[in-house]
Structure formats: C-alpha cells, structure tokens
Assembly symmetry: C2
Homo-oligomer: 197 residues x 2
DNA sequence: TACAAAGTGGACCGACGGTCCGTATCGTCG
DNA sequence: CGACGATACGGACCGTCGGTCCACTTTGTA
C-alpha cells in the first residue's frame, strides 16, 4: 500500500520539455520543422525520456496544447458570462467562437501542429470533442439552427487553425479583422429567419 | 524551331502512375500509408520517374486530385444549372456545396491526403482558390451575407475532407444524411434575416 | 548505507522522401 | 535503314526522422 513518491526529476523534466516544445513550435514556421530530437535537445533531455513521457509526437503536441489551453478552458467552464456558463445562449455562442478564434490567433503554429492530419484527425483529439459539446449545447438552446450538432461542427470548422493562418498570413487580415468577420458570420447563422428549406 | 515530338512512353507512364496512385489512395485507410515507393512499384515504374514527373509527393497528390475532379469542375464551369452558371445564386450556392461534398464523399481518402497539412496548407492548393472564387461570387450575388469572401471560406470549411470523414466514419452518418445536414445549414446561412449584430 | 524501483539518454533501427547518374529508349535526319 | 542526340528511365544511394531498447544513474525507502 505504501506508494512510492513520484520522483522530482521526472516532473522537472516534464515541465522542461513542455516549455521547450512550446517555444519551438511558436518559433518554427512549419510544425513539421520541429523534430523530436530538437525538442529533446532544447529541453536538455534525452530522446528516450521524451517518448517515455509522451508516447509519441502526437502525445507531446497534445500535452503542450492542453497546457496552453488550460486558461480558455477554465474561462469557459467557470468564468464569467458571456463566455462562462449562465449567459443567454445567443450571446454565448459568439463569445465561445470568438474566444476559440482568439486562442488560435495567439497560438497559431501550435494549433496548426495539432490539427495537422499527420497527427491523426483533429476530430479525434479530446479538445475538439469538448469544444464541440459546449458549442452544440449552447446552440441547441438558441433554437436558431435545425441541427445543433452539425452546426457546431460547421462553425468550429470556420476557425480551423490553417484557415486562420491563411487569412492572416496570406490574405493579410489582422486578428481584429478576422474576429469581425467571424462575428458577423456567426451572427448570420444565429439570426432568426427561415429554418430548413 | 521544329519541336521534337514528346515521347510516347512518358505519357504512358504518366497515366500509369496516376491510375496506380488513385487506386492506392482509395484503398489505403490513411494517406500516410501510401509511400512513393509503393506508388512507383504499383505503376511499374522507377522512383526516379515518379519524382521527375511530379516533383514531389505533393505534386503527385495534386495531379491525381486534379484528374479526378475534372468532371465536377467541368460541371460547375459549363454544365447545366443549378450547378453550372446561369442559375439564380440562391439556388447555385447550395448546389455548389452539395456537389463539392458529394465529390469528397466519393473520394474521401484522396481528399484527406490533399488536405493533409503535411502537404502544405490546403489553402495554397490551386483547387481551393478556384472553389473559393466560385462560391464567393455566387454568394455575393445573393446579398445574404455581409462578407462573401469570409462566408465562402466558412462554408467551404464545413465540407473539409477530414470533417466529412469524421462524420461518416466516426459518427456513422450516411452520405445522404451529411448532405441533408449540410443543405439545412447552408439554407440557414442564406436565409433572409437580420444581418450583422 | 544498502537496495530496488523509477527514470534517463543516446546509440540504434527501419522507413520514407528525395537525388543522382549510368543506361535504355525514342524520334529524327542523312 | 542506320546512327546519333535528346529524352526519359530506374534503382542504388543519402539524410532525416519517428520510435525502440537497454545499460546506466538517480531517487526515495528502510
């Protein structure tokens, strides 16, 4: 029964890796540009350690991403309205999407890395299911849309990391401009009006 | 000035490669599962030939994709309404998206391969720009939406290959169900109603 | 202090994308 | 028809990367 205490160096290394990876992904232009070996080196850790802790490349990316998104998640789950629970759904849906967009803008490279198909479908990632659930439920409350589950998918697709990246990097929109466009679009989807065919 | 005639074997090989790749991508579950070497072998061709003709893996995928989508493209550019030109924009937008969705349903694996971030952003692919232009212009005619360019991006995002794949393979929807959901959603976006906040 | 569990790191492996170049094939022209 | 140059071929070869493995070190316990 006496359980051994977790080793201190393990935790320290975990943090070091997370920090190093975060840094590297943020710096690099393409997610593919950062190799596991680089991350290991930057963290001052052996490759073996890295794989032991995170399983594979994907696991590492997910872990970094999870750490980064802690704050938004908390804000959505227990923060003040309209982002947090309690606000009228009509206000909350745009707030949710705006928050997610903001996060992707702030963590573009990391998000692209996560959504890279090479890392398995983004739709399998735990974070996606979570967002989808939140948006779907809020959407359902509004009655604005015939199929909240599908609409949630469609709206979330509008803030896909590579699309955001494209809008900013290629089309030259500023973050604020993208937010504005998205807000209008979401407004249109939520607008009262003919439903169905 | 007398130009040499192109060699016959070159053209033949090109077709063989295209066919083999098409076949392999369709069969394989994950695009990553098909290697250039496999394609070369299946086409009865050396690896060097393959890279010479298509530049790199990406080029090959794009070429296969282009060949496959010839038909839809023609239907959109010069086919009968509502898919082809001439139909009222309000009818054409749903038709366009439905056609694109249908294509992705029929060529799921290939589409996933093309949109794989490893193959550069899908937004850089020539085919995306083309679709975006068509949808944007049709959308602009409807006056249903404040920013046709953004709305086109958002609507196209709703039929991203990996999302479609997820809906079918994980959520278990049939192709027809997805079409129905998408149709409703597009209808909502196009519906007359409050614009903006 | 001694001992074992937990953790470490880097050599190693197989696979893959991409290059290179000696060789075979095709079209042309005398 | 024969020979020649351009063109294309193909597979050996290379560098890199994700992932594995295991001899060795560190940590906590008694």
């Amino acid at each position: 029964m006496t359980e051994r205490k977790a080793r201190a160096d393990a935790a320290r290394n975990r943090e070091a890796v997370l920090a190093a990876a975060d840094e590297l992904f943020a710096r690099s232009d393409s997610p593919r540009g950062v190799s596991m070996e680089q991350v290991a080196a930057a963290a001052g850790v052996g490759k073996g350690t890295l794989f032991r802790r995170f399983g594979d490349r994907n696991g590492l990316i997910r872990a970094v991403f999870a750490a980064r998104s802690e704050a938004v998640r908390a804000a959505v789950e227990s923060g003040p309205p309209p982002l947090g629970p309690g606000a009228p759904a009509r206000d909350r849906v745009p707030a949710l999407l705006d928050a997610l967009l903001g996060f992707k803008l702030d963590n573009r490279h990391l998000s692209v890395a996560l959504e890279d198909a090479g890392s398995g479908s983004p739709y399998e990632a735990e974070y996606y299911g979570w967002w989808h659930g939140v948006v779907r439920d809020a959407l359902a409350e509004t009655d604005a849309v015939p199929d909240p589950a599908f609409a949630a998918h469609a709206l979330l697709a509008a803030v896909r990391a590579d699309l955001v990246e494209h809008l900013v990097a290629v089309e030259g929109l500023s973050g604020e401009e993208v937010r504005g466009r998205l807000g209008e679009y979401v407004g249109k989807v939520l607008a009262p009006g003919t439903i169905g065919a």
